[in-house]
């Protein structure tokens, strides 16, 4: 792992404008899209997550880093698909019904992508039925539910309940400003993420408990 690679550094520093050129340089040097993700992007986002947990960086810098990574994936994702590369893990994510906020949810999605998890994003204001449909369709390992409003926490509870009643065994991670660990336990979620960095830890511990 080479943390000092210019592309990795551009991701960490959130320098979106430098990213396309640096990705192109890697490709020109013969690196595959899969290798760029694994060796340049993933280490960058891991460092971003660690720094966030150590209070060395804050939300604004994390958002900037995530946006830089999104820029890289814009170039690389079509190549990954073309090469038929399938990631090991899948996740479905969305903001629950009644809530239109997606910046926090998008950040978690990007952090998960940065941990090499394929993420299917259902967007905002997602009713329970659409989560169920998406879980049945994609059979993901993880389902992420987000909410920013206190007033839409009941929708999160109802979604978890509906998923369980539908007999789906997907691991559910919940998070968002008003959500607490107690609430996550109370509504029967499998994990709680206090922020986007711990969402990666939560995902990893759930994924590696899998048989």
């Amino acid at each position: 792992m080479n943390d000092q690679h210019p592309l990795t550094q551009a991701i960490i520093g959130g320098r979106r404008k430098d990213v396309p050129q640096l990705v192109q340089q890697c490709l020109d040097a013969g690196e595959t899209a899969g290798s760029i993700v694994e060796h340049r992007l993933v280490p960058g986002m891991a460092i971003v997550g660690d720094r966030f947990k150590r209070n060395e960086i804050f939300v604004p810098e994390m958002l900037l880093a995530a946006r830089a990574m999104k820029e890289a994936l814009k170039i690389l994702e079509p190549k990954l698909v073309a090469a038929g590369i399938k990631p090991e893990f899948y996740a479905v994510i969305g903001t629950v019904e009644g809530d239109l906020h997606d910046i926090g949810k998008n950040l978690v999605a990007m952090m998960w992508k940065g941990a090499n998890i394929e993420v299917i994003d259902l967007g905002v204001n997602v009713p329970a039925a659409r989560y169920i449909e998406a879980v049945k369709q994609h059979n993901p390992h993880l389902l992420g539910l987000s909410t920013l409003l206190t007033t839409t926490m009941p929708a999160m509870r109802q979604t978890v309940q509906a998923i369980r009643e539908a007999g789906l065994s997907v691991k559910i991670v919940v998070g968002g400003a008003p959500v607490t660990l107690e609430y996550a336990r109370e509504i029967g979620a499998d994990a709680y993420a206090a922020d986007a960095a711990s969402a990666v830890d939560a995902a990893m511990s759930l994924l590696h408990h899998k048989p």
Partner: protein
């Protein structure tokens, strides 16, 4: 319980009080509020924020997580008596009894003198204009015969103890009993005393009140009249009503001695769930609807709302900017009030820090920083090179700051305003900066998107009306420099104060106003920023300091 138990409470400037502990099951926040020391329980006493933190000096307290021995910082809403304690309440954790409320405003439209309530001179010849804000409420009394303002009175909206923002209030009002408690908090504990206070100032008895007009955001008006605001908490945020209702004083339990029960109260019309009657009032009072060139209204309060007028077309949006510019949620943040640092200038090489305190007190006696000082800080720290693009202290520049001004909170860097004042020194931390950047990005991006959708640039705008309490002490050039008002020039900006109150007054004095406001309110198109595709991109771009 232990008979005669007393808690020692230390306040600012060495003041000490003894508070008797009658009921050990009550939280410290509740006990303090009972004894005239309401704390900032802005998260609704749920233990989620740092608003009500107190310092436990001696003894111990109980929390759900167990026993907490001194010394410790504890959330008063989560802590209970444990037999003996001395606590210190920092100034920033208290809700002061006299907030600085914006009671002043500029009115830019002509106004006929034909009052909404016909006066009977000497009998019923005055009326009230009321602005019910999420944080503060203002009552203004006007003489209906002369049109003159007689008195103003302002204070906190007592609903604040249920939560500091509209969403926590909506959540609190889910049940009919709590909805009644919220109504009572704003009517009996807020508007009624302010009305009496204004009458005393005006030296006129309450029975001369002919009626009133009321402005406020959609949630506040729902809670005022006792309507269920629950639908405002979830998309598509459909209000129960928007049109300007006319109600009687007794219908909202406003029945102080001397006031006729049927006294009419006219609510101003709102625009949408998150664009309320306060904004209708602002559009009207600024006269922006009739400006020949494109114009903007930016109201920075607990939420940030903005309206663009372009060729007579009105478009509005709301941002969840949060109350950072009102000083909420910041380490040493406070509202603009007596004793707050309102102006700040920072220079490096050599290091210089100049401050001004509202009321003229020395920095050593200041009780916090208000929004305008944070804007000054961001602007001058960035231009001097102390802050980098992402709002972090530049390593080399940080080392050049005198050691006495450099502090660490939990390993996070903070710049102390004064020298070596110990742990209580006023300071700006990197965490504060991150929160300020998020608030400024929400407003900056909202403005950018609003202009973009109309195909305009900042330079195309004739006037930008900056409304709300925050604007009053603001250095406009600094607000532009940090990208809060991105791309504008200072000469475009008009600081207009409390336009919600101005609109309520105009509706009182000129009976045609109401019909015009109704018309305006139906003409405004609402833009849902969260559904605009590049809002997020613009928001992230605006997180940086230019």
């Amino acid at each position: 319980m232990s008979a005669g138990a007393q808690m020692v409470v230390e306040l600012d400037h060495g003041e000490r009080r003894l508070i008797p502990i009658i009921d050990e099951t009550r939280t410290l926040a509740a006990i303090c509020a009972d004894h005239g020391l309401p704390l900032n329980t802005r998260c609704g006493r749920r233990g989620l924020c740092h608003g009500c933190e107190v310092l436990l000096r001696e003894g111990s307290l109980r929390t759900d997580a167990g026993l907490i021995p001194a010394p410790a910082t504890v959330r008063a809403c989560q802590a209970r008596w444990d037999g003996g304690a001395t606590i210190q309440i920092p100034a920033r954790s208290r809700i002061e009894h006299k907030p600085q409320v914006t009671e002043t405003f500029a009115i830019a439209v002509p106004c006929a003198h034909q009052p909404l309530f016909p006066p009977e001179p000497g009998v019923r010849d005055m009326a009230a204009a009321i602005d019910v804000g999420t944080t503060t409420v203002v009552v203004l009394l006007a003489d209906l015969v002369t049109g003159q303002v007689l008195a103003r009175a302002g204070g906190f909206n007592e609903q604040i103890r249920f939560g500091d923002n509209v969403v926590t209030r909506i959540e609190a009002a889910r049940h009919p009993e709590t909805r009644a408690a919220l109504q009572s908090a704003v009517v009996l504990e807020t508007i009624q005393p302010l009305l009496l206070q204004a009458c005393a100032l005006a030296q006129r008895p309450l029975n001369r009140l002919a009626g009133g007009t009321i402005s406020g955001n959609t949630t506040m008006l729902h809670l005022l009249v006792g309507e269920d605001p629950t639908p405002l908490g979830v998309a598509p945020f459909t209000p129960r009503f928007l049109r300007g209702r006319k109600i009687s004083a007794d219908s909202i339990q406003l029945t102080p001695l001397g006031l006729a029960p049927e006294t009419p109260l006219q609510l101003l019309p709102g625009i949408a769930g998150y664009i309320g009657a306060d904004i209708t009032a602002g559009i009207y009072a600024t006269g922006m609807a009739f400006d020949p060139a494109p114009s903007l209204l930016v109201d920075i309060g607990t939420n940030g709302e903005m309206v663009l007028q372009n060729g007579g077309q009105l478009t509005a949006c709301a941002t969840a900017a949060g109350p950072a510019f009102e000083g909420c949620g910041l380490l040493c943040g406070t509202r603009a009030r007596e004793g707050a640092v309102s102006d700040l200038r920072l220079a490096l090489h050599p290091f210089q820090l100049a401050t001004e305190v509202i009321g003229g007190a020395p920095l050593s006696r200041a009780n916090g920083l208000c929004g305008s000082a944070y804007v000054d800080f961001l602007a001058t720290a960035r231009s001097s090179g102390l802050l980098g693009l992402t709002g972090r202290f530049d390593h080399a520049a940080w080392e050049s700051v005198p050691a006495s001004h450099r502090m660490f909170d939990d390993g996070r860097r903070a710049l102390a305003l004064g020298e070596a004042n110990g742990a209580g020194a006023l300071r700006v931390s990197e965490v504060d900066i991150a929160l300020l950047l998020q608030a400024k990005a929400a407003i900056g991006a909202g403005l950018e998107i609003l202009l973009q959708t109309a195909g305009l640039k900042a330079a195309d705008v004739g006037k930008l009306y900056l409304a709300g309490g925050f604007g009053m002490h603001l250095d406009v050039a600094h607000a532009i420099a940090i990208g809060l008002l991105p791309g504008f020039r200072a000469d475009q900006v008009r600081v207009v104060g409390n336009t919600a109150l101005a609109g309520a007054l105009l509706a009182l004095l000129d009976r045609n106003t109401l019909a015009e406001m109704e018309d305006l309110s139906t003409r405004v198109q609402v833009l849902e920023l969260n559904l605009v595709e590049h809002f997020e991109d613009s928001y992230i771009e605006h997180l940086m300091l230019p």
